[in-house]
Amino acid sequence: MDETILETRSLHRHFGGLHAVADVSFTVDRGMIKGLIGPNGAGKTTLFNLIAGTIAPHEGEVSFRGRRITAWKPHAIASLGIARTFQTTKLFAHMTVLENVMVGRHPRTRSGFFAGMLNLPWTWREHQQIQSSAMEILEELGLSEYAQETAANLSFGRQRLVEFARALATEPLLLLLDEPAAGLNIYETQELAELIRKIRDRGITCLVVEHDMSLVMNICDDLLVLDQGRKIAEGPPRAIQRDPDVIRIYLGDNHVEDPQP
């Protein structure tokens, strides 16, 4: 499964004088779990936003399954099959958990203003389908008992799960996870690792921004390292661990093994 599902070429994005992302090119192969790591301020979330369409790059390109999606709007990108979660959960606070996930079915369904207002019969069937597929996902993630609960009332960990469920409801081919382990304890992180692996086994490629190194080393097939907006290294976790440039940006110059005494 070496087909490239996502590719970026020389992505550039600056804010005023700050180069958040500078000349970043990398690829993600289908079916892999790719990690995106780097110190704070390295530009990881900006890179995510560039891929997901929240902001547009000043230079460079993004391609998904061979198709240029640079500067496409987020909803169009979602329809193509890229879903994302957010660093701070953005649930629809006043809607129920089930409704939250039902919104996730949006790109795969089609009843619009007129059909909705007139409550045409074909929309009833679609509504049934939306509801049952949303329930299915909730069951899989162990959230079915919270289906009718208002999203804002859930615990933090469960809210994160709901955001997961919602993203999965869009039937994505590529899932962008922005610091999914943030704020989770050890057990929850382990469960998260299991979940991500299960998702990957279903055929969904994952691109994960994370700070939790144990999680990253555990589940990622490949890593991309950013620092100050630039790509520092790309490769399998073992190689990255030993890469002197990577070590330097995390731990400083003193720790790089100097081959010449």
């Binding site: 997901a52 929240t54 709007k73 987020p74 909803h75 979602a78 329809s79 879903a83 994302r84 957010f86 953005k90 649930l91 629809f92 606070a93 006043h94 809607m95 409704e99 039902m102 919104v103 996730g104 949006h106 790109p107 369904t109 009843s111 619009g112 203003f113 059909a115 909705g116 207002m117 007139l118 409550n119 929309t123 009833w124 679609e126 509504h127 939306i130 919602r166 993203a167 869009t170």
Partner: protein, 355 residues
């Protein structure tokens, strides 16, 4: 499909019928006139509630759309084209039943647009204008959007005040009745009073039906999601711009329908219907009814307009709406009808403030 959502409609229908029977029985049927008028104003409020409560957009210019509906219908049904009979455009319009010949008050022959024709054109025009205005304006946020819609309302207000074809300061009058089917017509004639009462309510309930359906549909869910987290909705495939624009256009059409039908009912329309105060009034009603509460908005629309029309507020009419706006925002930002009474009293006596 959950049918419980329609229960309030049946309840409302029962109440409406009961009220009419009651009023007729006790010999006070003229209240129906104000109720009918309030019903047409409620159309605006229903549409605005969809826009403000569900799509989360504010509009300080909705009286403009009301005016578009009313003035277009008024002007088209009263402008005498008899001198232009030969024009080819008119000969096209004739078979389409758009034009009719009729006699005015003084027995002179007139060639005007038919009420049906003008009604449809008015709604289409309102939709087109709303679309064109919405395109650049909907993507603005918060205060900018409010000001832009205010500016739009002001422009419409100036146009109807300044243009000869719209009667300038006097407005348009002698608007003919709207012949719906057979002998059913929208008119202020007291012989048709009860009929018009039911026509108005039928229209309002139909609008509520459409609005309720929309809110419970995929689009309604998408709108609510936009309101609560636009970024997340966007990332889930919801075309936020199109949905906001669609709701804007829909609310404009509702408002225009209200304006058009009320113009036929009153037989006239005046520039005050396009004023900023009217727009603010509609916003106040939606706020008091509960931003995302369709029934609350409709009920408040009827109640407040009725009281205003019966001059219950006297010379303090405008001030009352201003006070309502303030009070609702402080004490019951989610609308009066959603507040448990105890909490309402608590808030009234406490020294709350933002931190």
């Amino acid at each position: 499909m959950n049918l419980t959502r329609y229960i309030p409609i049946l309840a409302a229908a029962t109440l409406i019928i009961t009220t009419q029977l009651l009023l007729s029985a006790i010999g006070q049927p003229f209240y129906m006139r104000e109720i009918t008028t309030s019903a047409y104003y409620a159309l605006v409020v229903i549409g605005l509630c969809l826009l403000m409560g569900y799509a989360g957009q504010v509009s300080l210019g909705h009286a403009g759309f009301f005016a578009i509906g009313g003035y277009v219908c008024g002007a088209m049904t009263t402008c005498n084209l008899i001198d232009y009979r030969g024009a080819w455009l008119l000969t096209l319009a004739r078979p389409a039943k758009l034009l009719i010949e009729r006699q005015d008050l003084y027995g002179r022959n007139m060639l005007c647009f038919s009420p049906w024709g003008s009604f449809i054109i008015a709604l289409l025009l309102a939709a087109i204008i709303a679309y064109l205005i919405g395109l650049p304006v909907i993507r603005l946020k918060g205060h900018y959007l409010a000001m832009a819609t205010l500016g739009f309302g002001l422009i419409i207000s100036r146009i109807v005040q300044g243009a000869k074809v719209f009667g300038q300061a006097d407005g348009i009058y002698n608007v003919p009745p709207f012949q719906l089917f057979g002998n059913i017509q929208i008119t202020g004639d007291s012989d048709y009073r009860i009929q018009n009462y039911y026509i108005a309510w039928a229209v309002v309930l139909a609008a509520m039906l459409l609005a309720i359906n929309l809110v419970h549909s995929r689009v309604g869910r998408a709108l609510r999601s936009i309101h609560q987290s636009e970024e997340a909705a966007h990332s889930l495939g919801v075309n936020t711009f199109q949905y906001k624009l669609g709701t804007f256009v829909l609310s404009a059409v509702f408002a225009a329908a209200g304006g058009a039908l009320l113009t036929f009912y009153n037989g006239a329309i005046s520039p005050s219907e396009a004023s900023v105060m009217k727009s603010v009034r509609y916003v106040a009603i939606v706020a008091v009814g509960g931003m995302a509460n369709l029934w609350g908005a409709m009920i408040m629309g009827i109640v407040l307009n009725f009281l205003s029309l019966r001059h219950k507020f006297g010379i303090y009419d405008e001030a009352v709406f201003g006070a309502i706006l303030i009070a609702v925002m402080i004490f019951a930002p989610n609308g009066l009808l959603r507040m448990p009474r105890r909490e309402l009293l608590q808030r009234f006596f406490s020294r709350r403030s933002y931190g």
